[in-house]
């Protein structure tokens, strides 16, 4: 039988706001970056994170502890972001050109390598924003949140084999988008 072991969850279910704040403090960085990578811009990410927190607070009484609080939280987070993305079907991306034109220049070879990395990161964020939301979700859970395949399978409600194959397919598509954006991307890796 399912059991909730975290006392903070039990207290938050009874309406203890301080216990809830403590839980959120523990997850807020990963939660925000999940939203940021899903929504592709900071303003939307903050709005979504706040909306997710309201949903979590209101749904806490129905949480039975069949999975960990973390898994439950990210399931709500990913589903809320997916719902919003499906509504909008668009995402604002950051621009690699904007970064290159920001006036910052490398002073030495190490700095040049850092710029390459920064450019790669921006390119990857941008490509991620172009990816279909279902593929984006599996990459975010795996690479932004560093979740195990078992946990991702539980959140997405599919077998582990499906998670593995979907993740591989998502990365192939991501690489394809990156190469369309920047044909020399793999040379810089």
């Amino acid at each position: 039988m399912a059991q909730i072991t975290d006392m903070r969850v039990l207290q938050a279910q009874k309406g203890d706001a301080a216990a809830f704040e403590s839980l959120i403090r523990e997850h807020q960085t990963r939660l925000y970056h999940t939203c940021l990578r899903m929504m592709s811009n900071p303003d939307d990410a903050r709005d979504m994170a706040q909306e997710i927190l309201v949903k979590i607070w209101r749904s806490l009484p129905s949480f039975k502890g069949d999975s960990s609080f973390s898994t439950w939280l990210y399931r709500i987070a990913v589903n809320t972001c997916l719902d919003e993305l499906r509504r909008r079907k668009k995402a604002k991306q950051t621009s690699m050109e904007a970064l290159a034109e920001s006036g910052w220049e490398p002073a030495d070879p190490d700095a040049e390598r850092l710029l390459d990395r920064a450019l790669n990161r921006e390119l990857i964020y941008r490509a991620l924003g172009e990816l279909h939301e279902d593929f984006r979700a599996v990459i975010v859970l795996r690479d932004v949140n560093g979740m195990a395949y078992e946990e991702i399978a539980e959140i997405l409600g599919c077998p582990i084999g499906t998670v593995r194959s979907r993740l591989n397919r998502a990365r192939k598509l991501l690489a394809k988008i990156l190469l369309e954006m920047e044909p020399n991307f793999l040379d810089r890796v």
């Binding site: 009484p61 790669n120 990365r171």
Partner: protein, 305 residues
């Protein structure tokens, strides 16, 4: 293993999560396969970039939470079946039931009869004007025209409309018309057997009346209800009212027994009743499906897991 299979394990290989035999197989493959090595490099770069939160500080969400009013909601208010939610569900059910009832009432035969008095009144006004104009011409028109008017009056009388009695200076032909009940019964019988009210009214009133076919048909309906004439002629009005009561009794009986034959004799069709029930069922079904879909979606999203 194929390249595809090897590549699908590279993510976990990088984290050292795989069993030793699989690890060694992948290691050997990477040593001799350049494309898989490139893919491994890409995955490593992608993971590093996405897990790098530097320069993107998260807002203090817990601090934001502490400032929100909704955290002061009690556990009872947040629970699945709190009074507010129960009230919402009850209101939705009442709304669905109300829509269904409106559907039945709007399509039920009795609701249609309620609209008849207003129609009858407007028809009476039109009749009074028509008779006034007839009086104007009655002294000048040749005998043939007078006969035509007499036939028109006859037809009007047959419909039980007593406004003809109230028009001053009614002509002789109108005064000598036979009593209403007998032709009324004939017209009634013809209409009931055919069901085409306006067509029968025209055929019974010749040319002059043919222009007023629709008026007669509406008049006939008002006469059936007993509302159009009851206030103007006590004798015929009472008779009409009695007929009407008889018809209503028949309809009630037919409705209660569900006998379509009994309904047919009154000129009423059971189809509206069936349509009303169908409408109710459709509204209820749509409401229930909407509630079920909503609950399933909620359960899938949050369902306590």
């Amino acid at each position: 293993m194929t390249h595809e299979e090897i590549q699908s394990f590279l993510d976990e290989y990088a984290e050292g999560r795989l069993p030793e035999d699989l690890r060694s197989e992948i290691r050997e493959h990477l040593e001799r396969c350049e494309s898989c090595r490139n893919w491994f490099a890409f995955i490593s770069e992608e993971k590093r970039a996405l897990s790098d939160f530097s320069g993107q500080d998260a807002p203090d969400l817990s601090d934001w939470v502490s400032q929100q009013e909704w955290t002061r909601e009690t556990a009872v208010r947040r629970s699945r079946w709190n009074p507010k939610r129960l009230a919402s569900v009850a209101a939705a059910l009442v709304l669905i039931a109300g829509l269904g009832t409106i559907g039945i009432l709007s399509l039920h035969p009795y609701s249609a009869s309620k609209a008849a008095p207003a129609a009858a009144r407007s028809i009476q006004t039109a009749d009074a004007e028509e008779y006034a104009s007839m009086d104007t011409f009655s002294d000048e028109e040749p005998p043939q025209a007078a006969e035509s008017f007499a036939e028109t009056d006859n037809a009007l009388e047959m419909k039980g409309d007593m406004s003809v009695k109230t028009v001053p200076g009614s002509d002789q032909a109108a005064a000598e018309e036979p009593a209403a009940p007998e032709p009324f019964a004939e017209a009634d019988g013809a209409l009931e057997s055919n069901g085409d009210v306006s067509a029968k009214a025209v055929s019974g009133s010749e040319n002059a009346a043919s222009d007023e076919g629709t008026v007669f048909s509406a008049e006939y309906r008002s006469a059936q209800d007993g509302t159009g004439s009851a206030g103007q002629d006590p004798a015929n009005g009472t008779e009409s009212a009695q007929d009407s009561e008889k018809d209503e009794g028949q309809m009630m009986k037919a409705t209660e027994t569900g006998d379509p034959t009994a309904l047919r004799t009154t000129g009423q069709d059971p189809a509206p009743r069936r349509s009303g029930l169908l409408f109710t069922l459709v509204v209820l079904a749509v409401g229930l499906i909407a509630v079920l879909v909503w609950r399933i979606r909620k359960a899938k999203e949050y369902g306590g897991r």
